[in-house]
Symmetry: C2
Subunit: 466 residues, 2 copies
């Protein structure tokens, strides 16, 4: 059985190898489009990225179109498969994170380059190289090679690319509500995840959920001179600092009321598997210039990032922040805070507890405005899903190492919506690495991730067809 | 004696009244110059403001010039007086604060307008109207009227205008070192202060000192994705929040080691005088939209702003602060903090205690950079200075109310340097009001402050000549 499969797909793999330069050229075209979804200034660029993908899918043989939403458009494509073959939905996103601080980039973020390191390792450098343009193109290129080599695809395939993943996916639920039947397949494939390391593939079996909070503390009706009012007037930066400082206690635990009520400990067998992965906390932190785990005391770093809920302040601003000094007491100060959720934590309950925490710190003559918040629960996949094991087997064939069954610290909220709204499980396979600098300056994607990732999808499509 | 003086100066006062429109036109010319000293982009504008003042002084009959420094230039002017008359040094500054947030201004900050309120009260609106261009021009116009009316000035006068008051006056000490003899007079006149209220003049007898701190906390070597690293990697905004939250204890006292060691309580007689001023804490706070004193428990608001040391965070920034959300853990976060000092507090001791406070909050794998700090001690004038009482007497003649002998929350560091380097006491008289919005959008100066302030200086010059 295995040898039959190999003989079937080896021409597809060879074609992928031979056409790598052209595939890279196409990826670079997509990376040049400045599709930053959170910034309204780039609205047209987002649409342009979606249109470009529609054209690619049509070129391969998909029936594809750009579908308008209240925000950035969706790309939807359909391609038939052999009678009886499963119907798969592949999901990715064409929008990217903002690029600031721009001065830290070694080259312009939307002018992709292929860099060769000492020793010959090659990397694709650009905003979106790993998150998620490079990743989604591995699947598109796998389909292209299958189609060109065999005239068809081994499974029936629907593709969904959204343009709002980096801005909270506000159009996703309405789009699923309106197009549920069209989008419901046997299984979803989600590529917005990573490998264990540069040589070891992985399948993600758990994702943390997320709650984001964007809020402003207001005190005086205008900015004040600290010489006239200092010591008497409320300073919103002081209030905000106290709110944020009090989010964690001295042991690193989050202080919100009832925060840990629905958090379950990792089962012993999974914890043992993790212990066997050879994860080095000092290497993990050392790679980013740190040496001391900053999270909950008495939890391993792997637990901290994979299985424990967190609270992180992602941004803060207030008062005078330019060059020089201004002895001002600001009228307002604001912050953005995100919580990662695990197990059965309820996003709404976390939001309510956070609001209560903020309000309990507020003097009577000050106010808070909660400008925006989003929430998604954590995901835990069924370990016994047969497609999961099929994918793991061919990943091992491609990479020469067993696929790690890992949890993931980040959130991929769509996986929850696939299950909740469309009843679909998700196979989460991706080829990103921890040091890809996604959401940071100098984002990159390994050329090996792009090349062997494409080959991996070609193999997974064959494996799932059986 | 009094009637002689009145008969001498009434033509000068009449001339001031008659020439008010022209005086206002000259002030508007100065207000149109964008002399923001903290921002290098406005370097040429600062020089332009200095040159404009030199031209004005020469026109009046001063021997005046622009004197280069390592920063913005000084304006120095000299005018002789009658034999035996005292030699006075008048100090002001031609630089202004930055204007952000620009969107809160009702008109462009450098396009001055005269606004008439209901009831006929008139105000000059522009950046620098009160701090300090409007104030310094009261003195210039008083000299002009004296000179035009009598052909001379009642005292020998040296004028010093600097262009770096809003950016810590870095060139002042070197300039005094190089030109000490030229600048040493019998008494300094400093106008960078305020009235008690719109009808009641004041002489300032105490000023708080100041220490400013501008620092950055650094953690990871780059911005991180909070999904990958959150809960394990140090977040510099968390560290900074804790540093700032811990600056005050629950009773509002500042926690720095030894901070209150050199703080003296206000003498009983001064406190009684303050109690008699009819100060209303609820009006003071109500005018800025607040109702609860935020400072030290068990201290009156007047004590909090006049006689107690303070710590205020004037600015904070870190992470993603744009529209939308970015789940980033920033590599660094920074803040600006200022301390107001009283009594004999030593600025250097405060700086050392602050550094220790910050460092005690720092995990071993994080760093702090103290980018810049400045310090000046508090000032307490001798109540028995004869010139102080002469000035108070003529202020009462002009305004019809006794001059309040007040302390001031803000800092005027030059007063300390005049005493320390040139051995001069300073007579601090100014016509600003608490609601002038200096350092804020919509800065204004009452037309009555400008007009009667000019008349006040004309009277003070006559009084000090005797």
């Amino acid at each position: 059985m295995k040898s039959n499969l190999m003989s079937d797909i080896s021409p597809v793999l060879t074609r992928i190898d031979n056409q790598l330069p052209e595939a890279l050229g196409r990826l670079f075209e997509l990376l040049r489009i400045q599709s930053i979804s959170t910034d309204p200034a780039f609205k047209e660029d987002c649409r342009k990225a979606g249109s470009w993908l529609v054209d690619q899918l049509i070129e391969i043989g998909f029936e594809a179109s750009l579908r308008d939403t209240d925000g950035h458009p969706m790309v939807v494509g359909h391609h038939d498969g052999p009678q009886g073959a499963p119907h798969l939905l592949f999901y990715g996103h064409y929008d990217v994170q903002p690029v600031d601080p721009l001065e830290l980039w070694h080259q312009p973020p939307f002018e992709p380059v292929l860099k060769e390191l000492e020793g010959g390792q090659k990397q694709i450098h650009a905003r979106g190289a790993a998150d998620d343009k490079g990743q989604l193109m591995t699947f598109v290129e796998a389909c292209r090679a299958w189609k060109q080599e065999t005239g068809g695809l081994p499974c029936k395939i629907t593709i969904l690319f959204e343009g709002e993943e980096e801005s909270g996916s506000p159009s996703l639920v309405p789009f699923f509500e309106a197009n549920g039947e069209e989008l419901t397949c046997d299984l979803a494939l989600v590529c917005d995840t990573g490998m264990w390391d540069i040589e070891t593939p992985a399948v993600n079996i758990a994702l943390r959920g997320m709650v984001t909070e964007d809020f402003v503390i207001r005190a005086a009706s205008r900015d004040l001179h600290s010489g006239h009012y200092g010591g008497a007037a409320a300073n919103p930066i002081h209030i905000l600092s106290k709110i944020l400082a009090d989010l964690h206690d001295e042991s690193g635990r989050i202080t919100l009321d009832g925060f840990y009520d629905d958090v379950e400990d990792v089962p012993e067998n999974i914890r043992k598997q993790w212990d066997g992965l050879g994860f080095s906390a000092s290497d993990f932190l050392g790679e980013i210039g740190l040496s001391m785990p900053a999270g909950e005391a008495n939890r391993s770093v792997l637990e901290q990032i994979w299985s424990r809920p967190t609270a992180e302040v992602n941004g803060i601003i207030g008062g005078y922040t330019g060059d020089g000094f201004k002895t001002v007491i600001a009228a307002e100060a604001s912050a953005k805070v995100s919580f990662r959720l695990v197990s059965n934590m309820d996003p709404e309950k976390v939001h309510v507890a956070f609001v209560k925490h903020v309000e309990s710190h507020l003097p009577e003559d000050c106010t808070v405005e909660f400008k925006h918040h989003e929430g998604s629960p954590a995901i835990q996949l069924d370990h016994t899903l047969p497609q999961l094991n099929k994918a793991a087997a061919v990943l091992e064939e491609e990479w020469g190492k067993p696929a790690a069954m890992i949890a993931m610290g980040g959130s991929v909220p769509i996986v929850g919506e696939f299950k909740r709204m469309l009843g679909m499980d998700s196979l989460m396979v991706g080829f990103g690495l921890d040091n890809d600098c996604i959401h940071s300056p100098n984002e990159k994607y390994e050329l090996s991730s792009f090349h062997k990732g494409t080959r991996s999808w070609a193999r997974i499509l064959a494996a799932l067809a059986e």
